[in-house]
Symmetry: C2
Subunit: 391 residues, 2 copies
């Protein structure tokens, strides 16, 4: 037997209270079933349902695994058993469900558990809560960032002349796994798919993809049309590496650019522009900053440099330049033109102002930052300049 | 610009007609948005919505990528635009949605598109259709099976004394990727997570996991509690390898067992019992066979051998011994005690009767079969005996 709760007690309580604060005035209880939310609340994934009341102690209704125990753990087979384990005064009048995540069928089933209760969508409340990281979480992300940067520092040693983008990607994946990368790229949204990362070289960086990532790529197969295309990396091209940084269950997101031979001044200039945007962000991504204003300031820097046609893609443009990151790769806040989000201390944000230069490839840097009063602090510390492969 | 449709015209028409046959009497049209279903219908993944009428030609409403064209392709930003592109006589009175897959929020949004239309769940219809593979699909699966078996044949060369289960898994992953494995392990169900595969050694095979896989494993981190645990592979242990066979967008599922040093007679006997079940299945998994009857026949073989306590796990037992496989790893039919499914010619089924022997590890074979009138034909052809690591 094993205790269900893997978080230190004070950390578990802190997270619970953050969720409960978010619930105040919205609902009396939430049924949580998404793996990422379950992991947030307990430090582990289990199959089942957590019932979080707006006041008081959670109940953990576990379907699998069979060997968990602990305070308020109830082994169940079906969600319908939840109601009978709550005293009548504990049953919510307004219940929150993760309606933006769980299937329609699952939602309809859960709606019936508390007959007559009003149902609201708790997805935004949970995303908002998770967007402000605790010190414990920031430490998990920081540790991923250290490993992530170590792996990236060894990328030039993996490259050989004649390699394809795919071959290089496979070697980076392998090194990452050897160094303890968990592989899994946790992502929210039913239509989002990815494997371990993206290595984009030359014009493949401009191949439009169906997914809502900043960059695309043709991919190796139409069943997963994103990333490396299998073409040889050629002289005069850049290689953009944006590979999985999940070393602790909490991820960093990080991109660096490598080059083979000389690349045109336009590409170098665009890369410097990306770094300029990062400098601006480090200063200005502070509590109370508006996400949309940060997007506009970045765009202003791009416009002044005359680089707008290349910004965030050339044939297809991404609609955002930054996103929250933590348990999942696409958390809140989102740095986008129509975002109404306001930054808070403890937000962890990956900023990825990137450019696609036709004939050359993608340039630009991605770093993961934690928002602090004194400015955004970088958690992915590694040289930002374009790194030559074979000088 | 690139044509949306990647399937040969006759294959596209065949799959469309299969879906339309399934719709007969149930609904007038389906809005399809799941990546696996979109891939089934077009041979590619795009972000958007397919509208499939029960009679006539589909319309492809594409949000991303931006460069697709072709007959009946309409670029849209929102699903609400779908209605205006259909003539009033084309609008369904009964519309099917993938209610078991798409989120509640997305379903509610799609329900409003055809105001006043009755909404039904089309998930089962699509799963049923996809469970009977076309010759084209079987060929894709067969090609994955060939690569899959090739990679497995080289596993002994990857092993060194002193390796952990995790280290061996990473090397198998790497070899798989070098040989063209797409990495992605497409799986249905919001709570299912996996990386590239499962390498289980010794008693870790018996560690209960939250996921609905046949075997568990502790995993390397509580954020993904399944698979290799990082323990050294020791003499007297088995190593069960069940790693991703997605080489073509269509997967095979395959498990083989390796051993280090002598393993007890009980483990050898259980492994032979698994092979006996496969022989039975090869003969009896024919059109019109009942899935539940096949489950019972397998269980009978296990009981006769006196191996029931070890069957499908020891501390935690899996509730099924086989499952459909194709675009996703958990397709229909399911070989389980309460399954009401009847096998059809062209079903592709992974059968995985496995045992966990305390102190030794997991044994048993998994093969992927196509159901034919003459019996189930194996698509994962490789030696089934336990393979020694370092004789």
């Amino acid at each position: 037997m094993e205790n269900l709760m893997l978080l230190p007690p004070e950390e578990a309580l802190l997270r619970l209270h953050k969720v409960q604060e978010g619930m105040a005035g919205l609902c009396d209880g939430i049924i949580v079933t998404d793996n990422a939310d379950i992991y947030y609340l307990t430090g582990r994934v289990f199959a089942g349902w957590a019932y979080i009341p707006s006041v008081g102690t959670p109940r953990w209704f576990v379907r699998r695994p069979v060997h968990l125990h602990g305070d308020d753990v109830v082994m169940v087979r079906k969600p319908e058993e939840i109601a009978s384990h709550l005293a009548s005064e504990e049953r919510p009048k307004i219940v929150g469900l993760e309606l933006d995540i769980i299937s329609y069928t699952q939602a309809e089933r859960l709606k019936k558990i508390f007959d007559g209760a009003e149902v609201i969508d708790a997805t935004a409340l949970l995303r908002q809560t998770r967007s402000v990281k605790t010190a414990f979480e920031i430490d998990m992300i920081r540790r991923s960032g250290v490993k992530h940067a170590e792996v990236y520092s060894r990328i030039p040693s993996l490259f050989n002349i004649g390699m394809t983008d795919y071959e290089l990607q496979v070697e980076i994946e392998h090194l990452s796994r050897v160094e303890g990368c968990l592989g899994q790229f946790r992502i929210s949204g039913q239509s989002m798919e990815f494997f371990m990362g993206n290595v984009l070289s030359g014009d493949n960086a401009d191949a439009p993809s169906p997914y809502d990532f900043a960059m695309g790529g043709k991919g190796m197969d139409p069943s997963l049309p994103v990333g490396a295309s299998g073409d040889e990396i050629k002289r005069g091209q850049t290689v953009m590496v944006d590979v999985n940084g999940n070393y602790t269950g909490y991820m960093t997101d990080m991109t660096r650019v490598f080059s083979l031979g000389e690349i045109p001044e336009l590409a170098l200039r665009a890369h410097r522009c990306s770094i300029d945007i990062h400098r601006m962000f480090s200063r200005e991504a502070v509590p109370d900053a508006e996400a949309s204003a940060l997007y506009e300031k970045a765009l202003e820097i791009v416009r002044e440099a005359g680089l707008e046609p290349y910004y965030m893609g050339h044939r297809q443009h991404a609609g955002f330049i930054g996103h929250g990151v933590g348990i999942e790769i696409n958390e809140w806040p989102v740095i986008a033109p129509r975002s109404r989000q306001i930054l808070e201390e403890g937000n962890v944000i990956a900023l990825e102002p990137k450019f696609v230069i036709p004939g050359t490839g993608a340039v630009g840097v991605e770093n993961t930052y934690v928002v602090r009063a004194a400015g955004a602090q970088c958690l992915t510390n590694a040289p930002e300049e374009i790194i030559p492969l074979f000088e």
